[in-house]
């Protein structure tokens, strides 16, 4: 299946400052973002995700490289000439305009007739469920409502691409979860390409069609959430997306010999010598002692989290592994500090990752 490309960055580079103070915020990044998809740029602060977003929005021009929108070179187009709208982290709502005027601003600037603007504003107000707030000023709204206005304002001109710069970071946890679903719903309903910037891996996993994990101005891995979670390319990705146990070992006859002396079955991907294995805590199981292929361990600590219990286990050489067990299961196992247990990894759980 061939899909149209909404946005493409070709070796986009951005340097700030000059001379010895020069900082490369974006290091020749190339990425293609499919039309109609929910694409997330994920990474810690300073990884270049916001810079890439600002290049697409037109607030910055790249030091080198190109930005294409629907195949058209827009690298040097000003923001007001790009059919791209942004939802800002601070919302940046116009304080002197009402909710309705804020939402209609883009269409007004495009010179659309009044009736069309009014209709679009009504549609947007319904879409974000703020019909009763049309006449209010932004500062009379709660954070979540302001967020919805910001969304509606950016969606009203029906942009080809909607850019979202950590829009949920100012909301409390409960509201954030609600807005995550809301965003996904809006994206599906409008069919507009969403490019979402976040440092929150959970947000990225729950909403995205595809995720690009960034670090130090580079994209490390692009893929669907499951792919990134289950097959992280390197240690950084594995560590950034969810919790991970890292185990060192050496390749030995198609399996991996851990430093503890245990042999673990894992695809070696043609490597030899020292490798790093990544195993997700929820893919570690406690099994009966002496099962074939199991690792002997001692319970170092057990922390109760409600639905889960995090069990810290120590292998023969002292390597610590965290196992996330469903509380019911661990309760039955009745694990206590100092207990001798056996553990095994679920099939395909252990992944060799780049260091």
């Amino acid at each position: 299946m061939t899909t149209a490309i909404a946005v493409e960055a070709q070796s986009a580079r951005k340097d700030y400052g000059s001379g010895q103070f020069a900082v490369r915020a974006l290091d020749d990044v190339s990425v293609r973002i499919e039309k109609g998809s929910f694409f997330t740029l994920l990474g810690p602060s300073g990884c270049g995700k916001t810079t890439l977003l600002r290049l697409i929005a037109g607030f910055e021009t790249p030091s080198a490289g190109k930005i294409l929108l629907g195949g058209r070179d827009i690298t040097y187009d000003p923001p007001n000439k790009r059919p791209v709208n942004t939802v800002f982290q601070s919302y940046a709502l116009f304080p002197h305009l009402t909710v309705a005027q804020n939402i209609g601003f883009g269409l007004q600037m495009l010179g659309r007739p009044k009736r069309e603007i009014a209709a679009a504003v009504d549609k947007m107000l319904a879409l974000v469920q703020l019909e009763d707030f049309a006449g209010r000023k932004p500062q009379q709204l709660s954070g979540g409502q302001q967020q919805r206005v910001a969304l509606a304002r950016a969606l009203a001109p029906e942009p080809e691409v909607l850019l979202l710069d950590e829009p949920l970071s100012a909301l409390d946890l409960k509201l954030r979860k609600e807005m995550q679903r809301e965003l996904k719903r809006l994206q599906t309903e409008t069919g507009i390409t969403f490019i979402f910037v976040t440092h929150d891996q959970e947000e990225a996993l729950t909403m995205s069609d595809r995720i690009a994990v960034m670090r130090k101005g580079n994209i490390l891995q692009i893929g669907a959430p499951r792919e990134i979670y289950n097959h992280p390319k390197d240690r950084f990705v594995a560590d950034f997306i969810g919790e991970t146990n890292f185990l060192s070992g050496t390749v030995e006859e198609g399996a991996i010999r851990l430093t503890s002396g245990d042999l673990v079955e894992a695809p070696t991907q043609g490597r030899s010598g020292k490798v790093t294995l990544a195993v997700r805590p929820e893919q570690v199981r406690i099994s009966g002692a002496g099962d074939p292929g199991s690792l002997a361990a001692t319970v170092a600590d057990s922390v109760y989290f409600g639905t889960d219990t995090h069990c810290h286990l120590r292998l023969a050489d002292g390597t610590e592994i965290v196992a996330r067990l469903q509380s019911a299961a661990s309760g039955e196992a009745g694990l206590a500090r100092g207990d001798q247990v056996s553990l095994r990894f679920e099939a395909g759980a252990a992944q060799v990752v780049d260091e």
Binding site: A57, G58, F59, P78, P79, N80, V84, N85, T86, F88, S90, A92, L93, F94, P95, H96, L97, F105, G106, M109, L110, K137, P138, Q139, R153, A154, P157
Partner: protein, 303 residues
């Protein structure tokens, strides 16, 4: 129902409040309300032969604000000279205010968008003119623009002009001097308003297809409007009543209300007319303030 003790405590609080504000009240009565009352009373009296007033009620001063009496047949007609002074005052004050805004807005914007350190330095520079007496500064401008002044000498020397430019003792000279004197009063409130302006709104409006002009007109100006109004009032009111600048740069012919009032108390020996003119000036200023309050109320309602 409040208990007796509570009532007594409340009464005591009120009494203490009055006591504490007594110094302020005395200053207000002695320095503001009192003189104003004297001015109003004087405007209804008869002028004495050598200045001062005679305690005889008369409307003459108020009639004299707009009309002059023909000394031969005693008929009244509209005093063109007075009207032209009023008109010149309002015109020059408005022009000064507008030009101060045109120059002051980019200045304030420039200062507000600098780094905190540069900003402090620039604001300091803006206030430096206040260190020197207004009279001396105005004479300095006089020295620059007079026919044999620095400007003309330089231009003649450079061969830009063949004859000196006649700037001094004209409305233009007064306008120039007032713009110079009152510019800081426009820049400072504008700076305060622009400083509070959220620059991220600029990106948001560019992003929503606004052109630079639309950003200025639709976003920046409405949001910094309180600063614009405050600056305009701070310039307009003293410009309307200006005395020193028109006196030194306007010469005798280009009088403004301030000079006209002074004339009545001095050479004119017509204190009641001077008082009536003062009250007239006060009314014009009051009307301008009313407009200000109304405009700022609208701004508050709009956000």
């Amino acid at each position: 129902m409040a208990s007796l003790a509570e009532q007594r405590a409340e009464r005591r609080t009120i009494r203490n409040g009055w006591l504490l504000s007594l110094p302020a009240l005395i200053i207000l009565i002695v320095a503001a309300a009192g003189p104003l009352l004297i001015i109003v009373i004087y405007s209804f009296l008869t002028p004495g032969s050598y200045g001062n007033v005679v305690w005889e009620f008369s409307w003459d001063a108020w009639v004299g604000v707009l009309y002059s009496r023909d000394i031969f047949d005693g008929t009244y007609k509209l005093a063109d000279a007075h009207l032209s002074i009023f008109w010149r005052s309002v015109k020059l004050a408005l022009l000064t205010t507008m030009f101060c805004f045109v120059v002051g807005f980019p200045t304030a914007w420039f200062i507000a968008t600098r780094t905190p350190r540069a900003r402090t330095a620039l604001l300091f520079l803006i206030t430096i003119p206040f260190w020197t007496n207004l009279l001396i500064r105005t004479f300095a401008i006089n020295q620059i623009i007079r026919n044999e002044g620095v400007l003309n000498t330089a231009l003649l020397y450079l061969g830009v002009i063949d004859e000196p430019l006649v700037i001094i003792y004209s409305d233009f000279a007064v306008f120039l001097g007032m713009t110079y004197v009152y510019l800081p009063l426009m820049v400072l409130p504008l700076f305060a308003a622009i400083d509070r302006f959220d620059m991220r709104l600029l990106e948001a409006s560019y992003d929503l297809y606004a052109t630079r002009w639309q950003v200025l007109r639709r976003i920046i100006v409405p949001i910094v409007k309180p600063g614009i109004i405050a600056g305009s009032i701070l310039v307009f009111i003293p410009a309307l009543g200006a005395y020193v600048t028109p006196r030194i740069l306007g010469g005798g012919r280009n009088m403004m209300i301030g000079n006209f009032i002074e004339l009545q108390f001095g050479q004119g020996r017509n204190w009641p007319l001077g008082a009536a003119l003062s009250v007239t000036l006060l009314v014009i200023v009051g009307a301008a303030l009313m407009l200000y309050v109304r405009a700022s109320m609208r701004t508050t309602n709009n956000g």
